[in-house]
Subunit: 104 residues, 2 copies
DNA sequence: CACCTATTTGGCAATATCGCCAAATAGGTG
DNA sequence: CACCTATTTGGCGATATTGCCAAATAGGTG
């Protein structure tokens, strides 16, 4: 297989969006229910501007959508299939080669 | 759900290892067959030291293992379940909310 | 041992990421 | 409109990532 730079840059950008502790938490939390920026800000304890920028990264990656209601903005997960991947991450963490084949 | 910093830092580290075009390519290529550093270097066209460092990131994340044979080092994927995740990434790329639920 | 190939490590410059603050924007209320 | 809350944007300093080069390490061969 040849290395198609553009192909992998596109895909890495989406995965990179998931590769930050705060953004990973947002994905898992939004999988449970939609949340506004102020709620997510309180949960992680960072500055709201920081939270807003993290959500912007997820949005630009196509992983979440935003919905403005009144003066609040609610974010929703667009891609529940991502959750299936987290089981595999657990298997990697446990260094458990036996389960890495069917953790999905 | 509360934000457990340590929990998400651990998991983000593994995902971050996947979030680079070259490393993503290595994962897909190693899913097909094991490869030595020199083969991977030729495929991507970067300096061998750069390739070695990328492989080191994947190894530290627990995603690949290395096996030295003679003066060559072969890398193997430890976590085939990661491949299941790529289907979801495609769905995100296609902006296809309908398929994001069962792309796994 | 001298020499060659394969790989890793150290270091550096360029660039990207992160989190904060301050300011701008937008909606709601009196 | 004045004012308050929620959110985003711009910018800055600190830190991390990336890819190259040079040097170090390790195995194979004569």
């Amino acid at each position: 297989m040849a290395y198609n730079q553009k192909h992998f840059v596109e895909r890495a950008r989406i995965i990179k969006a998931l590769g930050h502790p705060v953004r990973l938490f947002f994905i898992e939390e939004l999988a449970r229910q939609e949340r506004c920026v102020c709620e997510l800000t309180e949960m992680v304890g960072f500055d709201m501007s920081t939270v807003s920028k993290h959500l912007s990264v997820l949005k630009n990656a196509g992983l979440v959508i935003d919905d403005k209601r009144g003066n609040q903005v609610f974010y929703q997960l667009t891609t529940p299939c991502i959750l299936n991947f987290f089981g595999c991450v657990e298997a990697v963490l446990n260094g458990d080669p036996a389960t890495t084949n069917d953790a999905c």
